[in-house]
Amino acid sequence: MAGDSVTNISAISGQGVAILLALVFGFGDSNAFAFQTNPPSENTEDRSSAAASASEGATKATAPTSAAPSSTNDAVASKKEEEAKELRFTEQPYTVLISVGFEGDLFKTSASREQMLIEIQQSVQRLYGKLWKVTIRSNEWMIPGNADHLQRLTVEGLLARFPEEEFQKVFLLTVAGTTSRQHVACREFDTRMHEMTPVRQMALRDARSISNTCGRLIRDSFRPVLMFVRRFLDEEQHTRVEMQAQGGQILTPDASAIQVLPGDVLRPFRREMERRNAKKLKLLRPFPLTYMRVMSVDTEISRGMANTIFLSHLSPDSFLGKGRRTQRLALRQRPTAEQSVVRLVLTNRPDKPLISHRLALAYQLGYKDKEAQDQTKLVSDRNGDVTISVSPDHPTFWIRVYSGSSLLARVPYAPGLIPFDTVKLPDDSVRLGVEGEIQLLSDELIDAIAKREVLIARAEKQADAGEVDLVTSLLEQYAEISGKDYFIEQVKAIQTLAEKEAKSKRVGSKRLAALCESFKGSVETFFTDEKRATRLQQIREIKGTAERKSNETL
């Protein structure tokens, strides 16, 4: 079944115009599509003209590809090449395999299974029409064909079975049950992004609705692919990115199957291809915690062109930066669950979860934007995990992670898309330790000041009573209380030790110094020379009063 593919890369560049790099993949059975890999413009280009250039470029760049088996005759091959040449990314249908596993009494006979396959294919056709080139098969290797088995599938296993040259999307479907009760489950596998969706499943009580349910599950599992077109900064200094949906020009028969809608979230991937063999993937780079939020979708001129805002803790260039033989793609993904789990770990020790770290969910588009509602406060659990629920009004928001008085990280997040994410954070333990020590020293400072005031007040009272001995004793106690030098010395010791530890852990010490300096400032405020002089005068007066009153009594 595997068809040969031909990749042709062509770049069209011009002064002040779009730079287009299109890859055209051709598959057997006329399954082919074109890729645009380089941005046509940087911030300046008009979107429609860039899209037009992209389409044009793709057309021009399309190279003949041997898509058919070598045994096919030249005429057939030539015809396929022609078809491949004509297909641009915006017009390119997805090559889709639907592999259906059966289990249970309901599908004991091959006839019943065949019938079901036909019905499912019809259901999918009703949804996607020409957007999909569908192949549907009965799955012979997934035994038992049920949701549990689907759950256990691994990307590695599927990659070996379904190389990207054959199909772009593989839907693994299981239909299990009896006449009275059925269970349908589905999972999409994207061969280009090497990623599976979570299992979607549904229980039924009417066997007649199986095919339609399968269709719905396939539709909900489907993640359209979009390709980078261009980027620019908008008035609010957001990085805007335009992404073109594959086959965007092809209208789907069913409105519910439209690929991209405003409010959708895209997850970017960079595919770096081998230099000598441009159709062979060298490196696939996902961008966790990086999203593109769809703000609008062109439905008239460049259908399927999504205007998005790039949201990431990384520099936009990490994804959008230029690169030869680089494909910049994104998956449109909608929440499959009500919540996701985010795990906080140390950057240099991913096995160590960051437990009980405070998080705030800030509902804003860009991290500098105004927050739409009050923040949600969360704390990571014993595994370093935080469960974040989907917010219908905010497909994306920002997670802020705090450590003591400092902001440790700020990352965007779109919950519900994938069940589990990891946020790697720097080691803040040294700074946090200093914060604790400073806090204790502050308490000590408060105690010292309080005790001083108490002793002076008591000494004044005793002086009025002429109790010279008691006054002397109280003033001696006063003199023993820690003063400015002690606190400055202590904070210096804390700083020195912390800087040494920071050096050994190879972390910065600027924040440590700032903390210590801040405390020194407090000490200076409490122990000014002026206050000291006043206090000395007060002590002299107390002593004098005590002596005088004592003499008067005698």
Partner: protein, 851 residues
């Protein structure tokens, strides 16, 4: 009347003497006296038979006089004569001695002669003329009746009239005058016998018996003693036997046999009770032969209760009670009774120790605590500690009371602790365990994400499983598999637990152990101690600090010190906003006079032998103690100031609000906003605007421990004096446990086995290790607590604990109060207990109760 007669006699005699002395005559001999009497004096001296015995009041209160009865029957009333008592006898004895004496020089012979002359006359002084000595020839004196004799005569008369009190007072008067005088002893005995009779008459047998004991001590041959005592005992024993109060019967009999071992009444009852006891013992033997060991032991105990077995009967009794042993323990409350205390109470912890066997149990402690397992043979770590294979024991000693378990059952128990969806989830364990596998029915392999520093301490949980109950709507219930004793019966005042696996037949008598444990609740401590002293209880689990020395030096009991002392601490509700301010917590800490309370209230000992101020929630010998930390000090001034500081902090938002509102007003009016000027000029107004904000009322819940409660009450008094608003909630009240929003401060009594793992549950009052409870803690403290689990070595862990200890003390996250040595007292009949136990029921299945 009597007084009048006496006065007349005095008058007459005095008149005669006056006349004699005024004529310049001396009473040289009786003849002369009589002649003078006859010649010059009328009226004459009274006759003895006319003399009236003075009243008790006169005898006690007026000047003492003696009666000298002359040979002619007349009586001369004089002031006390000497020598006394036994005046005439003493004179006669001395005279005889002098007459027998021979030899010596002339002076000595002359002195003897002079002395003999003087002894022939008795010097008397008349009450009417105390300045003149008169000499009365001894030969003319028939008898001398001393004042004390008069008193005793009056006592006899009073006793005949049942005037006990007056008689006693008069006797005391005599005793005061002539201590230990032989003549007064019969009167004392008569007094006691009369009083005993009166007590019996008034149905006060106990008092009567006590008096008779006194009488027996004075004179066992007193003729009234046996009769009265036997009468009382006979009646009391009969009553007690009919009410089946055989201990009372035996006791009463012992009161009689103590003085009269062969008394007929005693013999009668001994025979009756012994026969009854023998019959019961025979029945017990029959039950034993039918393998009804519990019934046999109970009947045998009854037999021994009726009459103490001895000889061969004793051997039978011992065999029967050794086969099925009962242990009776007094408790303050029961583990199955819910109280308002927010966490598991002392009773619940004790109940848990008794009913469940954890995989690992603390066995010994010094700086560290050492654990042992009765389920695993080996648990050697491999892969640098990341993997452990537990070998499950396939056999168990006959005395162990828990069932044998398989690796599968233990794995099931582990799995339900790792499943976060179940109530049995153990977050800490789950964070450590990566995977586990049952390699065989006797081998369980556990792989860890990271190396646990104290594997045994982490596996201190019993083996449980989840089972669905009868109610289909209810979720699965946890069922204990590793049982030690199982609850068998309950009443308002007791709970009974049985050994979950019986000991086999055919062992030697000395090999059997406790089969049934009965926890009993008493009205008060006094009742507990009394019952223990009477042998109705076998163990007294926790001695009060002031009782320790009494029990230790009584010599009647085995008093053992618990290996780890009890530490009393204050913890704070991590979910309560009221105690998030460290200054408030520190103010409370500084306001506790630890030494004062220890000396006066808790230990009642100025030397503080059995307690000391604590500086940590763990014991003072623990490896976790930082050398830099000292026990918190008592400083009332600082406490008060910190409380004010905490209050001021509460007022800050109010002040800011006030200033912000003013700023808005001024800016709206188009004027320039000068914050410094505004604050300076409106300082009083700003202060007034927040004056209504005060510290919230603190709800202080105290563990159900009598010593803790005593101390807590005193602490609250002191805090109230410092103007804290505090409400004391006794934790032992029945009811639903207080929720997080219903308490702020908790007084806990703890005995921390492993600080590394036990600190979290103590500090956060949380057994689920829920990190959300750390929310009110500063981040640095949170991370310090969490990083304890990530310690890579023992020194690393200790360093982390040192740091936590220092920080915890400085910010008063936990306020250590005092550490009290804890003692447990056993009857001598109890054996097999640990010499320094770590808990009340440590190795209880090995205890023996053999009389």
């Amino acid at each position: 009347m009597c007084d009048t007669v006496l006065s007349k006699a005095f008058w007459k005699s005095s008149l005669a003497i006056i006349l004699l002395t005024t004529c310049g005559l001396s009473l040289l001999d009786a003849e002369k006296l009589h002649a003078q009497d006859r010649a010059t004096a009328e009226p004459s001296l009274p006759k003895y038979e006319d003399m009236q015995l003075p009243s008790a009041r006169v005898l006690k209160n007026e000047d003492s006089v003696d009666w000298i009865v002359l040979t002619d029957g007349r009586v001369l009333v004089t002031t006390p004569v000497y020598p006394r008592p036994n005046t005439l006898k003493t004179i006669q004895d001395e005279l005889r001695t002098l007459e027998k004496a021979t030899g010596g020089n002339a002076a000595q012979r002359r002195a003897r002669t002079e002395r003999r002359k003087r002894l022939r006359n008795l010097t008397v002084v008349l009450p009417s003329d105390v300045s003149t000595d008169l000499y009365l020839p001894v030969s003319q004196i028939d008898q001398v009746i001393l004042h004390e004799d008069l008193c005793l005569r009056r006592v006899d008369q009073l006793l005949e009239a049942d005037e006990i009190t007056q008689a006693y007072e008069l006797l005391l008067h005599v005793e005061q005058e002539l201590p230990g005088w032989d003549n007064s002893q019969p009167s004392f005995e008569k007094l006691l016998a009369t009083e005993a009779r009166l007590k019996v008459k008034n149905n006060d047998d106990s008092a009567a018996m006590a008096i008779l004991d006194e009488l027996a001590g004075r004179n066992i041959d007193n003729p009234d003693l046996r009769e009265i005592l036997a009468g009382i005992v006979d009646r009391r024993v009969a009553d007690a036997a009919s009410d089946k109060r055989f201990d009372s019967a035996r006791y009463n009999l012992s009161r009689l046999t103590r003085h009269f071992p062969q008394d007929a009444v005693a013999e009668k009852w001994k025979t009756r009770l012994k026969n009854r006891s023998d019959e019961l013992l025979r029945q017990a033997r029959e039950l034993f032969d039918q393998k009804k060991y519990r019934d046999a032991a109970l009947v045998a105990q009854e037999a021994d209760f009726v009459w103490k077995t001895s000889g061969s009967a004793r051997a039978v009794y011992t065999e029967l009670v050794a086969r099925y042993q009962f242990l009776r323990v007094p408790v303050g409350g029961f583990g199955d009774v819910e109280t308002v205390f927010p966490i598991s109470s002392r009773d619940q912890r004790r109940d848990s120790q008794l009913t469940s066997v954890p995989l690992f149990e603390a066995a010994a402690a010094d700086e560290l605590t050492y654990f042992q397992s009765s389920f695993f043979e080996d648990w050697d770590p491999t892969d640098l500690g990341r993997e452990v294979v537990f070998s499950v024991r396939q056999t168990r000693p006959y005395w162990q009371s828990q069932p044998l378990l398989t690796a599968n059952q233990i794995a099931d128990s582990l799995s339900i602790r790792l499943d976060s969806s179940l109530p049995t989830f153990d977050a800490r364990l789950a964070s450590f365990v990566k995977e586990f596998a049952v390699r065989s029915p006797t081998e369980l392999q556990v792989v860890f994400n990271r190396v646990p520093l104290n594997l045994e301490a982490m596996f201190r949980f019993p083996v449980t499983t989840l089972e669905r109950g009868d109610d289909p709507d209810a979720g699965p219930q946890s069922k204990l598999l590793s049982t030690r004793f199982v609850p068998a019966a309950k009443s308002d005042r007791s709970r009974t637990y049985l050994r979950s696996v019986d000991e086999p037949d055919g062992l030697l008598r000395t090999q059997y152990h406790v089969a049934e444990l009965i926890e009993k609740k008493y009205e008060d401590r006094e009742s507990e101690v009394r019952a223990f002293s009477k042998g109705e209880l076998d163990v007294l689990p926790h001695l009060r600090p002031w009782e320790i020395d009494i029990f230790k030096y009584s010599g009647s009991f085995s008093v053992q010190k618990y290996r780890l002392p009890q530490t009393h601490v204050l913890t704070f509700n991590p979910k309560s906003e009221a105690v998030t301010n460290p200054q408030l917590r520190r103010a409370l800490s500084f306001g506790v006079d630890r030494e004062g309370l220890l000396k006066k209230v808790i230990l009642r000992d100025a030397e503080m032998q059995h307690g000391r101020p604590a500086k940590a929630p763990w014991n003072s010998r623990s490896y976790a103690n930082s050398p830099l930390v000292q026990p918190p000090k008592y400083d009332l001034y600082l406490s008060f100031l910190l409380k004010l500081a905490a209050q001021e902090k509460l007022r800050v938002p109010g002040r800011l609000e006030f200033v912000a509102a003013a700023k808005k007003r001024i800016e709206d009016a188009g004027e320039e906003w000068k914050p410094d000027v505004f604050r300076r000029e409106n300082a009083a107004a700003i202060t007034k605007s927040v004056s209504h904000i005060t510290l919230p009322r603190l709800r202080f819940v105290v563990e159900d421990d009598p010593v803790a409660m005593l101390a807590a009450e005193k602490m609250v008094e002191r805090w109230k004096a410092l103007k804290f608003d505090i409400e004391l909630i006794p934790g032992g009240q029945p009811g639903k446990p207080l929720a997080d929003d219903e308490w702020d401060v908790m007084y806990r009594v703890t005995r921390m086995e492993e600080p590394l793992l036990d600190l979290w549950p103590l500090m956060l009052t949380d057994e689920q290790l829920d990190v959300s409870r750390l929310e009110t803690y500063p981040d640095w403290m949170r991370q310090e607590l969490i990083n304890l689990d990530y310690a890579t070595s023992f020194p690393d862990a200790r360093g982390k604990l040192f740091q936590i200890h220092r920080h915890m003390s400085a910010q008063a996250f936990i306020v250590p109060l005092w550490e009290l040595d804890d003692y447990i007292a056993f009857q001598r009949s109890v054996a097999g207990f640990e010499s320094q136990p770590l808990s009340v029921y440590q190795s209880v299945e090995k205890w023996q109760v053999i009389p």
